[in-house]
């Protein structure tokens, strides 16, 4: 007697699970221009690579004779698959079943997914929709009591979610209206995205918020792209779910599968010694005129390899992943178009997050330094720039991997001083346009020569005279003579310098464990 009937039952139940929440709910979901969870998984992964785990999970109803008379699948779909040939784990919420809430969920499956990626050492992508497994008040009637949130009545999920941040690359995609624990599962990640005009993210949605006496707001007004494109809660806003999946695959391609691996080198057809003529004129001689830093970045990295992160937040610093002769790095560069490239509170937070990420996953850092210091003035003080800036300094100081700084313009003040770690494997170069010091000359003159200027017969002429004296002393050549800057370089040869650095230090990258757990 064979087990064919039971095997047939397995197949029947798996096929039933493919129907998700039913045709009507799927149609309603599509009408909002959203893909179903299985469509999302299919679009994210390489064709045919999805190996589902927990395909039979769900809720069944049995009659008095023990016959199964009704069923609904779990609203969590998860399993292994490949993204551009590399194994990852994906977990997705099915909004067509009880809005993705715990009513149709299974906390054991959710928690085990997180344990699997930790122990199998593979990247995790969370496709979050609805409450992302969060509780529903209907649960209380089912279980006949209330419970302490995330307490002992169920196996805890959040501790494993937190731990994975220091173990494997995690991408959180907000693909619907996401609140509560769903929102947490998006932002406890290394990279997050939401879809313009489709996704929303909030601690709590309008039904709860509109009960508090606050001005009633729509989902879009409370947690749409207009809010989180600037809040820092989400790294990037995309125009479609397909774009989110493409960017997910690309993000993961720069990182190792876990902290026990090194970031993979890519095969690149781009001359590491390519000379870029545009760079000789990239920084204006007029010190008040800004340069376009993204053009400089594109000129020096492996062609097309710059993948910017969190573009609309902390805009005075440009941060992204890039490659030099195939070696992946975290690249940072000051953008003078925003606040003269000063480190604002937001920019400092962005630096802290991504330098910590690079430290965790053994990515070298390349820093195109242009920083006049921290943001000054009432706006900067109110935003607690000094504390956020201090955290950025700590993150840089704690960085253990190779670090290459190219000072292309300003390196002044506290932010300028923090341009690289002191103890790490680091090299530093400067362009002829570089200027540095504890204070920008302009502000420093007013403080140091206040009396001399105020008592001069012609204060403006005196100011100009002092400025001219100090301008001569600012020459980077004088600093190079005493080895306070290791090397001045022709800007056109910057790519070659960095590629040699990347190759020279590739063997020095180590998979040593992270000393401090990563925080989002």
């Amino acid at each position: 007697m064979s087990w064919q009937p039971e095997v047939d039952e397995i197949t029947a139940r798996q096929n039933a699970a493919l129907k998700l929440g039913g045709e009507a709910n799927i149609a309603r979901h599509h009408s909002r221009h959203r893909l179903t969870v299985r469509e999302r998984i299919h679009a994210l992964l390489d064709d045919g690579s999805f190996e589902e785990i927990g395909s039979l999970t769900g809720n069944s109803v049995y009659d008095e004779e023990g016959r199964r008379i009704g069923s609904a699948p779990s609203n969590i779909v998860c399993g292994f698959g490949k993204a551009d040939g590399r194994t990852i784990f994906v977990t997705g919420d099915d909004f067509t079943l009880k809005g993705g809430s715990s009513e149709a969920g299974n906390v054991y499956k959710q928690r085990h997914s997180e344990l699997l990626v930790r122990d199998m050492k593979v990247p995790l992508v969370r496709l979050v929709d609805g409450s992302g497994g969060g509780g529903s008040v209907r649960d209380l009637e089912d279980i006949g009591r209330t419970y302490v949130p995330l307490g002992r009545h169920r196996p805890p999920v959040v501790p494993v979610v937190v731990e994975n941040l220091s173990r494997v690359p995690v991408v959180g995609l907000c693909l619907g209206s996401v609140a509560g624990i769903g929102a947490i599962r998006v932002v406890i990640s290394h990279y997050s995205m939401m879809v313009r005009d489709s996704s929303h993210l909030f601690v709590a949605g309008p039904p709860l918020v509109n009960q508090t006496g606050e001005t009633p707001r729509t989902k879009e007004e409370l947690g749409g792209a207009g809010i989180h494109g600037k809040s820092g809660a989400i790294d990037d806003i995309v125009d479609s779910e397909l774009e989110a999946f493409e960017r997910t695959r690309r993000f993961l391609s720069y990182l190792p599968s876990s902290v026990d691996d090194l970031p993979p080198r890519a095969c690149i057809d781009d001359d590491p010694d390519r000379v870029e003529e545009s760079l000789i004129n990239a920084v204006p001689r007029e010190r008040r005129r800004p340069h376009k830093v993204r053009k400089i970045i594109e000129a020096i990295v492996d062609r097309g390899s710059f993948f910017e992160l969190s573009r609309t937040y902390g805009k005075s610093i440009v941060i992204g992943l890039a490659r030099f002769d195939g070696w992946p790095v975290l690249l940072m560069a000051g953008d003078p178009f925003t606040m003269g490239a000063a480190w604002t509170a937001a920019a400092s937070q962005k630096i802290t997050r991504f330098v910590d990420m690079a430290n965790t996953f053994h990515l070298p850092v390349v820093h195109l330094v242009d920083c006049p210091g921290f943001e000054i003035g009432l706006r900067g003080e109110t935003a607690n720039t000094i504390r956020h800036g201090a955290r950025a300094i700590c993150a840089i100081s704690a960085f253990k991997g190779p670090w290459c700084s190219i000072i292309i313009r300003n390196a002044t003040g506290l932010g300028g001083a923090a341009h690289q770690p002191v103890e790490a494997i680091s090299m530093r170069y400067a362009w002829p346009s570089a200027r540095w010091g504890s204070l920008p000359i302009e502000g420093g003159i007013e403080a140091a020569y206040k009396t001399e200027i105020e008592t001069a017969p012609d204060p403006e002429a005196k100011r100009t005279e002092i400025y001219a004296r100090l301008e001569a002393i600012q020459s980077p050549f004088r600093t190079a003579e005493v080895y306070d800057i290791e090397e001045l370089i022709d800007p056109r040869g910057t790519r070659s310098v960095i590629c040699r650095f990347a190759n020279r230090t590739s063997g020095l990258r180590q998979t040593s464990p992270v000393s401090l757990p990563l925080r989002p």
């Binding site: 600037k230 008040r288 005129r289 800004p290 805009k315 005075s316 003078p336 178009f337 925003t338 606040m339 003269g340 490239a341 000063a342 006049p372 943001e375 000054i376 706006r379 920008p440 302009e442 502000g443």
Partner: protein, 78 residues
């Protein structure tokens, strides 16, 4: 044709207004210059079109992403 907002790229103050209403603008043309952290930051058009509104004056303080001007573009809005 559509109306497009021109946003300030940074917090700062308006130092110079380089164009007047009705002027033709091309992509990346500076409409005004802001001063921020001792830098002269151009506010540039994102698209070709005609300048139809200037919403700030010299010496005004502006915030990052504040709408400071509007153009009528040559092409449909995104």
């Amino acid at each position: 044709m559509a109306r497009a907002n021109i946003l300030s790229p940074t917090a700062g103050s308006v130092w110079k207004i380089e164009m007047k209403l009705g002027d033709r603008v091309e992509e990346d043309d500076p409409i005004m210059i802001l001063e921020s952290m001792k830098m002269e930051i151009p506010v540039m058009s994102d698209a070709p079109g005609t300048l139809i509104e200037i919403l700030v004056s010299v010496s005004d303080s502006v915030n990052e992403d504040q709408v400071v001007a509007m153009i009528e573009t040559d092409r449909d809005a995104n």
